[in-house]
């Protein structure tokens, strides 16, 4: 099809094609919900509230982005993100005397190494993906407890730009970092050979292997990205709170999975884009914030989040079926 025939209807068709309809609906719903909340909820659009939405979206979102590479490449999900984030928060605080960027690099290196090890076990040694990451989660938590003696480590220096600095009122640096990772991730996933191979591995593992794609390397890469994606939120939370401990990232695994699934990434692999992960994260962050500013309790927020996951995926499945 030439560019000239790419009429308005075909753009519409692409956005609402069975494989894209859930992602599109969630993107529209996020924008509508945000605008309605701005109009009707007092102080919702204030700089401090917007930045609190962005803080929570950035940490969960970065973890979900890394996780999405595992999911899209066909290995369902990883359950070691929370303990990786916890260990990274401890490393960040321990290294924070060297400055913000070296400390961030140190926790990132930790995440990369743990991700690489899991990637080798799953990709090279062909072990069960989910159980390998459950085992890794337990081992990483054990190491982190051993290193920190089970205690909370406190930063000696004061708050840094990474923890609480803002580019402009309402836009923390953490959100800028999140945006940068989304853009780089989207380009890598959609426009490079590695991204293409990663997606094809998820669509059909056997065919990808038979076709001579670098399957093992892509699986290892996806876990390296997931490890990095888990370490960064750990560092960000540590930078913001000035503490590192084992409770950092307690809900990270399932929050990241939920955000990714709501956004329209298929759990079975091959389908979904990096921007979908970002929109799913923002959808849940805005929804949770609306409940929060209306003084709904934590348990109500959890129940609504569970319902949102169910409804988004059910609606996606129904709409996709209708179009077929």
């Amino acid at each position: 099809m030439s560019a000239a025939t790419l009429s308005r209807t075909s753009v519409f068709g692409a956005l609402f094609a069975p494989a894209r309809v859930q992602a599109t609906v969630i993107q529209i719903a996020t924008v509508v919900m945000f605008l309605v909340a701005c109009a009707f909820i007092e102080n919702f659009a204030s700089a401090s509230n917007i930045s609190s939405i962005l803080y929570s979206a950035s940490t969960v979102g970065i973890a979900a982005l890394g996780l999405a590479s595992v999911t899209i490449s066909g290995n369902l999900f990883a359950l070691s993100l929370g303990s990786t984030a916890a260990f990274a928060s401890i490393v960040y605080i321990a290294a924070s005397g060297w400055g913000v960027l070296p400390a961030l690099a140190a926790s990132l290196a930790l995440g990369l190494v743990f991700g690489l090890l899991q990637g080798l076990v799953v990709g090279w040694l062909r072990c069960n993906a989910i159980i390998s990451t459950i085992a890794a989660g337990s081992l990483i938590a054990g190491l982190a407890t051993w290193v920190s003696d089970g205690r909370t480590v406190l930063a000696e220096s004061g708050p840094s730009w990474l923890g609480s600095g803002t580019l402009m009122p309402g836009v923390p640096w953490q959100a800028v970092l999140f945006l940068l990772i989304v853009i780089v991730g989207e380009v890598l996933m959609q426009r490079t050979r590695a991204g293409w191979e990663l997606r094809l591995r998820g669509t059909n593992p056997d065919a990808a292997e038979l076709a001579g794609l670098r399957v093992t390397r892509m699986v290892v890469l996806s876990y390296v990205l997931a490890g990095a994606g888990a370490a960064i939120p750990g560092a960000l939370i540590a930078a913001q709170s000035g503490t590192g401990n084992l409770r950092v990232g307690a809900d990270l695994d399932f929050s990241a999975i939920a955000a990714m699934l709501v956004g329209g990434v298929a759990i079975g692999g091959g389908r979904g884009r990096i921007i979908d992960v970002a929109s799913g994260t923002l959808f849940l962050a805005v929804l949770t914030n609306i409940l929060l500013v209306n003084n709904f309790a934590y348990e109500v927020q959890l129940m609504v989040k569970g319902l949102a996951v169910l409804l988004a995926v059910m609606a996606g499945a129904l709409l996709a079926r209708k179009k077929r």
Partner: protein, 315 residues
């Protein structure tokens, strides 16, 4: 050596069980005392029921993430509805578990959504519901007679809970081996399309596994609440991951069709013995986490390329 060559994982879990029993007995002679075997039976009962339900869904090629959260909710329902009449509470908890299982099964089948997704949503929903039911304060049970009855022992080692759990393992094993529904579940998990064409009741089998998984988890939570005389939203916290670990350790394959309740029971026993023994010898919390991870890692490696390599060498 022959078994080891045929199935390294099968031999591995026996080796683990035997080795740990020897080490813990050597370290602390109380390990094999009646009182400790009673305690082992109690942890077997809790983890066992969750793992058995999860294993059934895995056998049919699905996966139920909501079992752990269901334990918390069912315990709270049991005590909230059963304050005056315990039977009513138990029935309410079981009915809730069965209905949630039915929902999981129907949504998964009707919408063609992966059960990982359906049950993840339900899991988050249930954990919120548990905190809401708890209402910020400890929920306790005033029916001391019943609690006492559940804490008595038979022959010094068996508790009512462990007897019920062992019975359910046996019944589920017999159901899978000798009934049409059992054969359908295994066939559906092995190859869904072929099973459907061969006349297996695909929908019935999948929905049945989810309902049983919900019922087993609800029963585990209700019995735990009766035995302890209290309920909390944190009871189910680690049960999902432990149950999945036990099922895999027990030889159940994520791809479906492979694994039996007997193997699951051994997998549960391995984890129960490990954690009981480590507690008994006073292991530190990093050691407990590292050894749990280490045992899982060994199991996962035995199921991957290193296991295949070993099999080829030993054959």
């Amino acid at each position: 050596m022959k078994t080891l060559a045929e199935n390294p994982l099968l031999a591995l879990r026996w080796l683990l069980l035997l080795g740990m029993t020897l080490i813990f007995t050597a370290a602390n002679s109380y390990f094999l005392a009646a009182g400790n075997i009673f305690a082992l039976g109690e942890s077997f009962a809790l983890l066992g029921l969750v793992a058995l339900g999860l294993a059934l869904t895995m056998l049919a090629g699905e996966f139920d993430l909501s079992g752990g959260a269901m334990v918390s909710v069912a315990g709270l329902i049991m005590l909230k509805c059963g304050a005056d009449n315990a039977l009513l509470g138990l029935l309410a908890a079981l009915a809730f578990g069965g209905l949630v299982g039915l929902f999981n099964g129907i949504v998964t089948l009707k919408l063609g959504v992966s059960s990982l997704v359906t049950t993840l949503g339900v899991m988050i929903l249930l954990s919120g519901f548990a905190v809401w039911l708890e209402g910020g304060q400890a929920v306790s049970f005033e029916n001391y007679d019943l609690t006492d009855a559940f804490n008595m022992d038979w022959f010094g080692i068996l508790s009512p809970r462990s007897v019920i759990t062992i019975a359910l393992f046996v019944i589920t094993g017999l159901m899978l081996a000798f009934t049409r529904m059992g054969r359908d579940i295994i066939a559906v998990g092995s190859h869904r399309k072929a099973a459907g064409m061969a006349g297996a009741d695909v929908r019935g089998a999948v929905v049945t596994t989810f309902v049983l998984s919900g019922l087993f988890a609800a029963l585990a939570g209700a019995l735990l609440a009766i035995t302890l005389g209290r309920a909390s939203s944190t009871f189910g916290a680690n049960l999902l991951l432990q149950g999945a670990s036990a099922a895999i350790l027990g030889g159940v394959a994520l791809s479906g069709g492979i694994g039996r309740p007997f193997g699951v029971a051994i997998g549960v026993l391995v984890l129960a013995v490990l954690n009981n023994g480590l507690g008994l010898i006073g292991a530190s919390s990093p050691a407990i986490l590292l050894l749990n991870g280490g045992v899982l890692l060994i199991a996962v490696l035995a199921g991957g390329a290193p296991g295949t390599w070993l099999r080829a060498r030993l054959a």
